[in-house]
């Protein structure tokens, strides 16, 4: 299967080369484009462009659009976005700018708070569909849970979709514990939060012809890594046989949630 490195036409956007980092700007493989994390770079000079959250977010997404265009794709083809913010207190400022770049059918997404290099405020990476003939195997569509209470992005007016389907792959946004009866945040003991997220994830996948037994990869973020054992105790109840590949990390999470889980599944 082919694996092609994407080199931006504008050399100023080749940050890995310009900053001597051992990674590619983007890689195209299996009909998908994987972009490295991008921080705010001035496209006219190649230098870092620190600014407000709005300025950095717009700069990153403009550059991302440019690189995707060089790879024959576009922001409209983005499936899954990982966002890293220097502070989750800036989430609303981030969302306000981000939403302008994804006006319709936004990608699946998750956001976490981390320390970024060089005092940058935001870093974004993504997986996008390589543009091509609009065959069923390549179509991109957003997915929703049947239970509207669990459509967090719509109820809270967030610029992401619960999930995005591309051909036979489904990318699910980071899911936090939501009460399926009310749609409200459902804080509680970590074990209950994990049960809630995995139950809701099953509902979302089953609403779209998939299921937990079709999950390929799980990414689990926990606010307190000392509680990771709770996850592994509960996981077998939902994935009794042939569990997916899985990564668990300790991260700063939004809104006081103890756990956030995202996945890639087969449709």
């Amino acid at each position: 299967m082919s694996r092609e490195l994407i080199v931006p036409k504008n050399p100023n956007l080749n940050a890995p080369l310009n900053f001597n980092r051992p990674h590619a700007v983007a890689v195209k493989a299996d009909g998908l484009i994987f972009l490295s994390g991008m921080t705010s770079i001035d496209a006219s000079t190649g230098e870092r462009k620190q600014g407000t959250m709005a300025v950095e977010t717009a700069t990153v997404l403009e550059n991302m659009a440019s690189v995707l265009a060089d790879a024959g794709s576009s922001l409209a083809n983005v499936l899954k976005v990982h966002v890293f913010l220097h502070s989750l207190l800036e989430m609303e400022a981030f969302n306000a700018t981000y939403a302008k770049f994804f006006p319709n059918a936004p990608p699946a997404r998750n956001i976490s708070g981390v320390v970024l290099n060089s005092g940058m405020k935001v870093e974004i990476d993504c997986v996008a569909l390589a543009d091509g003939p609009a065959t069923p195997a390549r179509a991109r569509s957003t997915i929703e849970p049947k239970n509207p209470m669990l459509n967090n992005s719509r109820r809270s007016n967030r610029p992401h979709s619960p999930g995005v389907r591309a051909g036979n792959l489904i990318f699910v946004s980071g899911m936090v514990p939501l009460d399926p009866a009310t749609g409200e945040s459902s804080p509680g003991p970590i074990s209950e939060q994990i049960h809630t997220v995995l139950t809701n994830m099953a509902h979302l996948l089953e609403s779209n012809g998939s299921g937990l037994d079709r999950v390929i990869k799980l990414n689990v973020s926990m606010a307190n890594m000392l509680e990771s054992d709770a996850f592994y105790r509960i996981m077998p109840k939902y994935f009794p046989e042939n569990p997916p590949a899985c990564t668990v990390v300790g991260m700063q999470l939004s809104f006081g949630n103890g756990v956030e889980i995202e996945c890639v599944a087969l449709a």
Partner: protein, 131 residues
């Protein structure tokens, strides 16, 4: 229906489910893509944890990924995306120096961030590759 294959590495130490009860598969292949579980510095034969420096853990992880990806019909040259987690952002350049040794030609897309990693490891690599 598209297939979803569980990849079992030839090295017994890499099965964290067996060694540590972590209910996960080492890697899963779907379409032409291979998604690996987060890899940490464990001995590929015994499964023992090998805590060390960012450099030593990175080298051990890449050695393990090489074994795992080969079992999946892929290789380190076929990596497409890496999510690299380190315990402290200040060691970013230390990671890069060891990392570079294993992706000499056409390195994959990558994002690095700092996070808490299980058992106090300093590095964890979460990778996807193509066949």
């Amino acid at each position: 229906m598209a297939a979803r294959d569980i990849i079992q590495p030839s090295a017994p130490g890499l099965d964290l489910r067996r060694h540590y009860g972590l209910h996960q598969s080492p890697a899963v292949r779907a379409r032409g893509l291979i998604f690996c579980s987060g890899m940490v510095a464990i001995h590929p034969e015994t499964g023992e944890r090998e805590h060390g420096t960012v450099s030593s853990e990175t080298r051990r992880i890449f050695g393990n990924l090489d074994l795992l990806l080969r079992a999946a019909g892929s290789s380190l040259d076929r990596l497409v995306q890496v999510h690299a987690m380190i315990y402290d952002r200040i060691e970013y350049d230390v990671l890069n120096r060891a990392y570079r040794e294993f992706v000499p030609n056409g390195p994959p897309a990558r994002t690095v961030w700092s996070s808490k990693i299980e058992s106090g490891f300093k590095v964890q690599l979460d990778v996807a590759a193509v066949e």
